[in-house]
């Protein structure tokens, strides 16, 4: 079941609340293999939505249904009050940036960009000016006469983008467009793509398996797991308030704490914290950066209101990995619980602590987020031979 939260927009260009695209109970079966089940999603005008998922989660299939390359087995897709999924791809005001760009090798850059306008039989002068404008927008004017094989991957990427945007689609679909680029170029393109989306104001649906990319670029993330929507929320919310254990583990690192709730208190080994939940077993996600070395001062002033919900525990350092600005520690608490802790490097810089000496750590009870349990591995879809994005 999808946990659809209200869109919490964080970007400065606040999308209007009008829904552009409405995906209603879409399912897709390939023979006996269920690739998508019961996907329902509203996408707002001007929104940057990322469909995030592992390979095989069905994200590319969903995108292909929106583009019209696949027919859904059941369900409907509507765009601005009109049925979309019954139209052939060439009649949809939807354009796609393909994973491997799919530039026409027998045409120049310019001819590629002008293709959509030419087949729509626009006047030559209009095609000329719109192509020039589109090439300028992606900073590729100098390459107008080149063949796609003569330009680099990053440049092909820009041309693919220009070729789609020149048609002024209502909706732009991007199928892992950055996956073939090297890390630096990729980061640069992420920023440029986001800026471009703000500038043109077109709704983007971006498919990726890279959670960092999703976090950086999106207004909202729709996380797919084995063909089902796991959670749809803004990057900030999906990170800080994951609804399920899968979400918590897939997006960033987390500690999953299996606790027993008794009379408003969660008990997990030696750790205890107040939680307004009914009695029974519960699973909590606690981000590594929410745990910090306990400061001597805070233990002295135990009367401060924060301390009421601060959980303190002693643990032995097992492992320490230096990551530059932060450091990832693995500690074992008195009860034998292994926890990951992310701390600013300077916090422990001076302490050459012997491994056996227990240290004191603390976290706020509010940071332990109760999550529904869902498996991390996508094996509920048996025999999934539809490889996503390959």
């Amino acid at each position: 079941m999808a946990t659809t939260s209200e869109p919490a927009f964080t970007s400065s260009s606040k999308p209007s609340s009008a829904s552009l695209l409405s995906i209603r109970s879409v399912a897709k079966h390939f023979g006996k293999n269920i690739v998508l089940r019961d996907i329902s999603l509203e996408i707002a005008e001007g929104e940057f939505l990322t469909i995030l998922g592992e390979s095989g989660s069905g994200k590319t299939t969903l995108l292909r249904i929106l583009a019209g390359f696949e027919q859904s087995t059941s369900g409907e897709v509507w765009m601005s009050g009109e049925r979309l999924d019954t139209e052939p791809p060439y009649r949809r005001r939807v354009n796609t940036v393909f994973q491997h760009y799919a530039l026409f090798p027998h045409m120049t850059v310019e001819q590629n960009v002008g293709y959509g306008l030419r087949v729509a039989k626009r006047p030559v002068a209009e095609i000329q000016s719109r192509v020039t404008e589109a090439l300028a927008k992606v900073k590729m004017s100098a390459y107008a006469k080149s063949k796609p094989s003569k330009i680099s991957g990053g440049q092909q990427q820009r041309i693919a983008l220009a070729r789609a945007l020149v048609n002024r689609p209502r909706l732009l679909l991007l199928d892992e467009p950055l996956s073939a680029l090297d890390a630096n170029l990729r980061r640069q393109m992420q920023v440029e793509l986001k800026a471009l989306q703000r500038e043109v104001g077109i709704t983007f649906i971006f498919v990726t398996h890279d959670q960092d990319e999703a976090m950086v670029m999106s207004d909202r993330i729709a996380l797919l797991r084995s063909g089902e929507l796991e959670q749809v929320a803004s990057p900030r919310e999906i990170y800080s308030r994951p609804a399920t254990s899968y979400t918590a583990q897939f997006i960033g690192h987390t500690n999953l704490l299996r606790a027993d709730v008794r009379q408003g208190t969660a008990n997990c080994g030696a750790l205890q914290w107040p939680i307004p939940l009914p009695d029974g077993a519960a699973l909590f996600s606690l981000r590594p950066e929410c745990i910090r070395p306990a400061s001597a001062s805070s233990s002295a002033s135990s009367a401060s209101p924060i301390n009421a919900a601060t959980v303190r525990f002693r643990a032995k350092l097992r492992d320490q990995a230096f990551h530059g600005a932060t450091e990832l520690l693995r500690v074992e608490s008195d009860g034998g619980l292994i926890l990951s802790i992310r701390t600013a490097s300077r916090d422990l810089a001076n302490s050459q602590t012997p491994i056996d000496d227990p240290l004191e750590f603390e976290f706020s009870a509010a940071d332990a987020i109760p999550v529904r349990e869902t498996s991390l591995t996508s094996n509920s879809n048996s025999g999934s031979n539809n490889e996503d994005g390959v």
Binding site: A102, F104, P105
Partner: protein
């Protein structure tokens, strides 16, 4: 990586083969084409261009060559007309049956050329299947005699025989077109017809050129179909070569004609390869 002896062992036999069975015969033909035949039916090693002169001045030779080219051109045209749609259908619309259809196209290649040529003789003859049928349904009163022993019969038979040869390279080039290019064209608003003319056809041109070359070159050199089905009006240049090397016993003239055809064919292949290179992008 491999020992010297091993490399010698695997490269020398094919080279010897090519030398003995290809280069030496061509060299002999080249020599023959300058020689002549004396009145007493002996080969005279005279080294002059008389044979080539005769080739250009006697109308029967260059007219037959032109007719052969015209027949070959028609075979090329009709086998493209059949082969391209077939290849297109198989590559894009055959779905799960693709392999089955592919085998069905290939199977005729296993049947002997002679059997297929004789089959057409049975079909097209005066008492053949086609004429009998036409008379039976009263479309004609008398058997149609232009069906057999005519250029028509030759073109029909050669088209039948060489269509799989044009189909194969076209099919291969269509299979090589990345399907996301077709999707991209759809996505950008092109109708299926526009996608065909603007994306699929241009990208399949190398296959079309290769297929056309096959059909033309193979038909141009054919002598069995005209022999069996061509009649006097369907004689092709190879039939002349055959008779010059056989009954007429004029090897030098036959060699000169053969070398001219070889030059023509090599020129065509060279030209078509150049064009193919120009049109290949992958």
């Amino acid at each position: 990586m491999f020992s010297r002896a091993y490399r010698t062992a695997i490269t020398v036999p094919p080279l010897v083969w090519v030398a003995v069975f290809l280069l030496v015969p061509y060299l002999l033909m080249f020599c023959y084409s300058f020689w002549s035949v004396s009145d007493s039916q002996a080969i005279v090693h005279s080294w002059d261009l008389d044979n080539y002169h005769e080739l250009l001045t006697k109308p029967v030779y260059w007219q037959t060559l032109l007719r052969s080219m015209w027949i070959a051109a028609r075979v090329m045209f009709f086998s493209m007309l059949l082969g391209y749609p077939l290849a297109y259908f198989l590559s894009f619309h055959a779905g799960g049956r693709k392999d089955l259809y592919y085998q069905l196209v290939i199977i005729p290649l296993w049947v002997s050329y002679l059997v297929r040529a004789y089959a057409w003789k049975t079909i097209l003859g005066t008492d053949g299947v086609l004429n009998t049928l036409l008379q039976y349904v009263h479309l004609t009163r008398h058997p149609l005699d232009f069906l057999l022993y005519s250029p028509f019969a030759v073109v029909l038979t050669l088209t039948h025989i060489y269509t799989p040869f044009t189909f194969l390279p076209i099919y291969a080039s269509l299979e090589h077109i990345p399907r996301n290019l077709v999707e991209a064209s759809d996505d950008l608003g092109a109708t299926p017809a526009q996608t065909f003319w603007r994306v699929i056809l241009p990208l399949s041109i190398p296959g079309v050129l290769a297929g056309a070359t096959f059909a033309f070159v193979l038909s141009l050199g054919d002598f069995l179909a005209p022999l069996l089905l061509g009649g006097p009006s369907g004689i092709m240049i190879s039939n002349i070569v055959v008779s010059l090397f056989g009954a007429a016993y004029n090897w030098p003239l036959g060699a000169a004609i053969s070398l001219c055809m070889l030059a023509l064919v090599l020129g065509l292949i060279f030209f078509s390869e150049r064009l193919e290179k120009k049109w290949s992008f992958q």
